[in-house]
Point group: D2
Chain length 100, copies 4
């Protein structure tokens, strides 16, 4: 695997982990209602980035076709997470931004 592929995979995997961690931590917050949109978006984002990582690692043509959808969910997730002060949200927003 070349360096470019590896750095793509690192960004994708970091985004998946940050989204999973954020969703789980949001469910433990005092006011979960406030975090509902965040939980929904991190779920979609984790799923789409995880699939992209698989396609990138196997050299599939469909990784590139998924790119616009992945960029859109990463941006939406970064925007939503960025609105919350929780550390897990701020870290997730940062990981999503790097991935978008």
């Amino acid at each position: 695997m070349n360096e470019h592929t590896q750095s793509q995979l690192d960004a994708l995997n970091a985004c998946v982990a940050a989204c999973e961690h954020c969703a789980a931590a949001c469910l433990q917050e005092q006011d979960v209602n406030m975090m509902a949109r965040c939980i929904g978006l991190t779920r979609d984002c984790a799923d789409i980035c995880a699939l992209t990582a698989r396609l990138v690692a196997r050299g599939s043509d469909y990784a590139a076709q998924l790119a616009p959808v992945r960029a859109a969910i990463c941006q939406a997730c970064a925007d939503e997470c960025g609105r919350h002060a929780h550390r897990h949200c701020q870290e997730c927003a940062e990981a999503c931004r790097r991935c978008a």
Copy 2:
């Protein structure tokens, strides 16, 4: 879940199962080299349709955004499988076509 959503899910799940079954059966064929492209495409197709089914079931906006990619891989997979006489390939081609 309404009837339309359920019939979408049925088509997606049938496609995932047919692709998984086809890939596994291709690996048992006498001439696996002939089936290499089929194995690669069924893998991508199963992964993309499985993710779509999850997004559809949760009512995500990103299911619609994935639709063109999913249609493209289903069509590519149907075309490749349709070229092989094996029963698992013909069944997979049919499931992919219904899904595309």
Copy 3:
């Protein structure tokens, strides 16, 4: 695919869809805090049942090895969902029970 495999896949796919739908609907409820455990469990359950369905469809030996974990999460999810009166929770509990 024989009848037994198909009925296993149907139960698994129905469970995945019910869990996804339940998690999404829980996030729209008035008191999301009450549903936090349900959302967490349905997520794990959907992921584990979706993987099992893939392994079953490809005839993998590891489907059987996953069976005890899958039965445990289906049971835990059925128990938690069964405690809530929401229709999506009751339907999810039923789908998980059939799958366990």
Copy 4:
């Protein structure tokens, strides 16, 4: 995320990527028949390690319950890949061993 969790995730993600890359490269080899078992095992291994990474990142109780199954498939995959001289197989065997 603490250091232990991060190093677990790194090992799991490296294993997923190595398995995906190995399966795709095996399909391009001159004698795919020889690689059929390898392709099948790397697929199961990638799927099970990818799910485990998701569960670990979200702090799920079910990550630990999956551990024996994951160790078994990583070991089986390392053994099979270790028997082939291809560089992608040797790298995959190494990644699986570190993960097991």
